[in-house]
Symmetry: C2
Subunit: 217 residues, 2 copies
C-alpha cells in the first residue's frame, strides 16, 4: 500500500472521507443524523476535525449537495449526448433521473432543493481567528455553480424538443412539475386515496402536454 506522504494528498483524502461519511449519514437519517462527531468517527478522526475542511456543519452539507448536483448533471449530460435517444426520450430520462434521486436518496433530494441563504445564525469568526480558508461563502458559491450547470444541461435537453424560443418557459414548467411530483411522492402526499395516479403517469402527461404545445406552436 502506498504510504501517504504529502500533506495535500492527505487533506484531499480526509476531505473525501468526510464527504462520504456525511453523505452516508444523510441517506440514513437525514440532516439531523449528520453529526459532526459521527462524521469524524466514520472518517477515522475525532469530532473537531471536520472544521479543518469545512467552515461548519452547514458547509459540509452544502458540499454534499454540490456533489449531488454534479452527479445529476453528469447523468443529464450523458442522456443529452446519447445518439440512440430521441429528444422526448432524453427529456423523460432527465426528469426520471431527478425523480429517481427523490426515491433513492430522499434526504439528499431535499438537500438539493434546500432554501438558499438559510444559513442559521453564524456565531462570529472563530477557530484561532484565522480560518479564512474554507469560508462558508466558497461552499455556497460552488453549490450555486453546480446547480447552474444542471440547469444549463436541462435547458439544452428541453430546447432540443420545443425549440430555443420556448425552452426557458417550458423548461421551468417541466422542472417545477417534476420537482413537485417528486416532492409530493417523497412526502407521501401523492399516494392517497384521492389521487389515484402515480408519479410516472403524471410525468408522462406533463411531457406529452408540453410536447404537443411545442409541435403546434
Amino acid at each position: 500500500m502506498g504510504v501517504m506522504v504529502t500533506r495535500a494528498e492527505s487533506a484531499a483524502l480526509t476531505r473525501r472521507a468526510l464527504l462520504d461519511a456525511a453523505a452516508e449519514l444523510l441517506d440514513l437519517g437525514g440532516p439531523e443524523a449528520v453529526t459532526l462527531r459521527e462524521v469524524g468517527a466514520r472518517a477515522g478522526m475525532t469530532r473537531g476535525a471536520p472544521y479543518r475542511h469545512f467552515a461548519d456543519k452547514d458547509s459540509l452539507l452544502t458540499a454534499v449537495a454540490t456533489e449531488g448536483w454534479d452527479r445529476i448533471s453528469d447523468q443529464v449530460r450523458a442522456l443529452r449526448t446519447d445518439p440512440a435517444l430521441s429528444a422526448s426520450e432524453r427529456l423523460c430520462g432527465a426528469l426520471h433521473a431527478l425523480i429517481g434521486v427523490g426515491r433513492g436518496q430522499p434526504h439528499l433530494y431535499q438537500l438539493l432543493f434546500r432554501r438558499r441563504g438559510d444559513r442559521p445564525g453564524q456565531r462570529g469568526e472563530g477557530l484561532d481567528r484565522v480560518r479564512r480558508l474554507c469560508a462558508p461563502a466558497d461552499d455556497t458559491a460552488a453549490a450555486v455553480r453546480a446547480t447552474e450547470r444542471f440547469q444549463d444541461e436541462f435547458l439544452a435537453v428541453v430546447a432540443a424538443l420545443v425549440g430555443a424560443q420556448n425552452a426557458r418557459h417550458y423548461g421551468a414548467l417541466l422542472l417545477t412539475s417534476a420537482h413537485g411530483i417528486a416532492g409530493m411522492e417523497l412526502s407521501g402526499h401523492l399516494a392517497t386515496d384521492v389521487w389515484r395516479t402515480s408519479a410516472d403517469e403524471l410525468v408522462d402527461t406533463v411531457v406529452r402536454m408540453v410536447a404537443n404545445v411545442g409541435e403546434t406552436a
Copy 2:
C-alpha cells in the same frame, strides 16, 4: 376580566397559547427556532410545560401544520362556494392560495409538505410512565385528516372544471405542479438567469393547458 376557573378551559387556553407561540417562532426562524423553552416562555410558562399538551416537539409542529391545512382548506372552500367566480377562477384562486402560503410563511409551507412518518428516534415512553393522553399518533392522525380535507376540497374545485372523470389525474397534476412551482420559488431555484419566467406565469400556463385538455376531451 373573567377569572379562569375550570381546568378544561385553562388547558385549552394554554394549548392555544403554545400553538400560537410555536407558529410565530416557526415563521420567524423555521423549525430550528421553535424551541420548547422559548415556546413555553412566550406562552407564559416554563420549558417542560408543553409536554402536558404535546407528546414532544414533533407533535407540536405537527399540530401547527394541522391548523395550517385547516386554514387553507377553509380558503379553498370559500373559493369553491363563491358564486361570483368561474370554475377556472376558483382553480386559480386555490393554487394561488397555496403558493401564497409558500411566499408569506415559507417555513410553515415546508412543514405542510413535510415527509410523513419522519418522526425521529423516539426514546421510549416517559413522563411519569403515564402520558397516554396526547400520544404522537393522535397528532399525526389529525394532520392526515386535515390534509385529506384539503385534498377533497381541491378535488371538488378541479372536478368542476375538467369533470369528475379526469378530476383525480389532473387534480394531482395541478397540485404537484403548483407545489413544485412554490417549492422552487421558495428555495430560490426559480429566480435564476436560466428560467426567465415567474411562478404566476407558470401557474397560468399549467391551468390553461389543463383547461384545454378538459375542453377537448
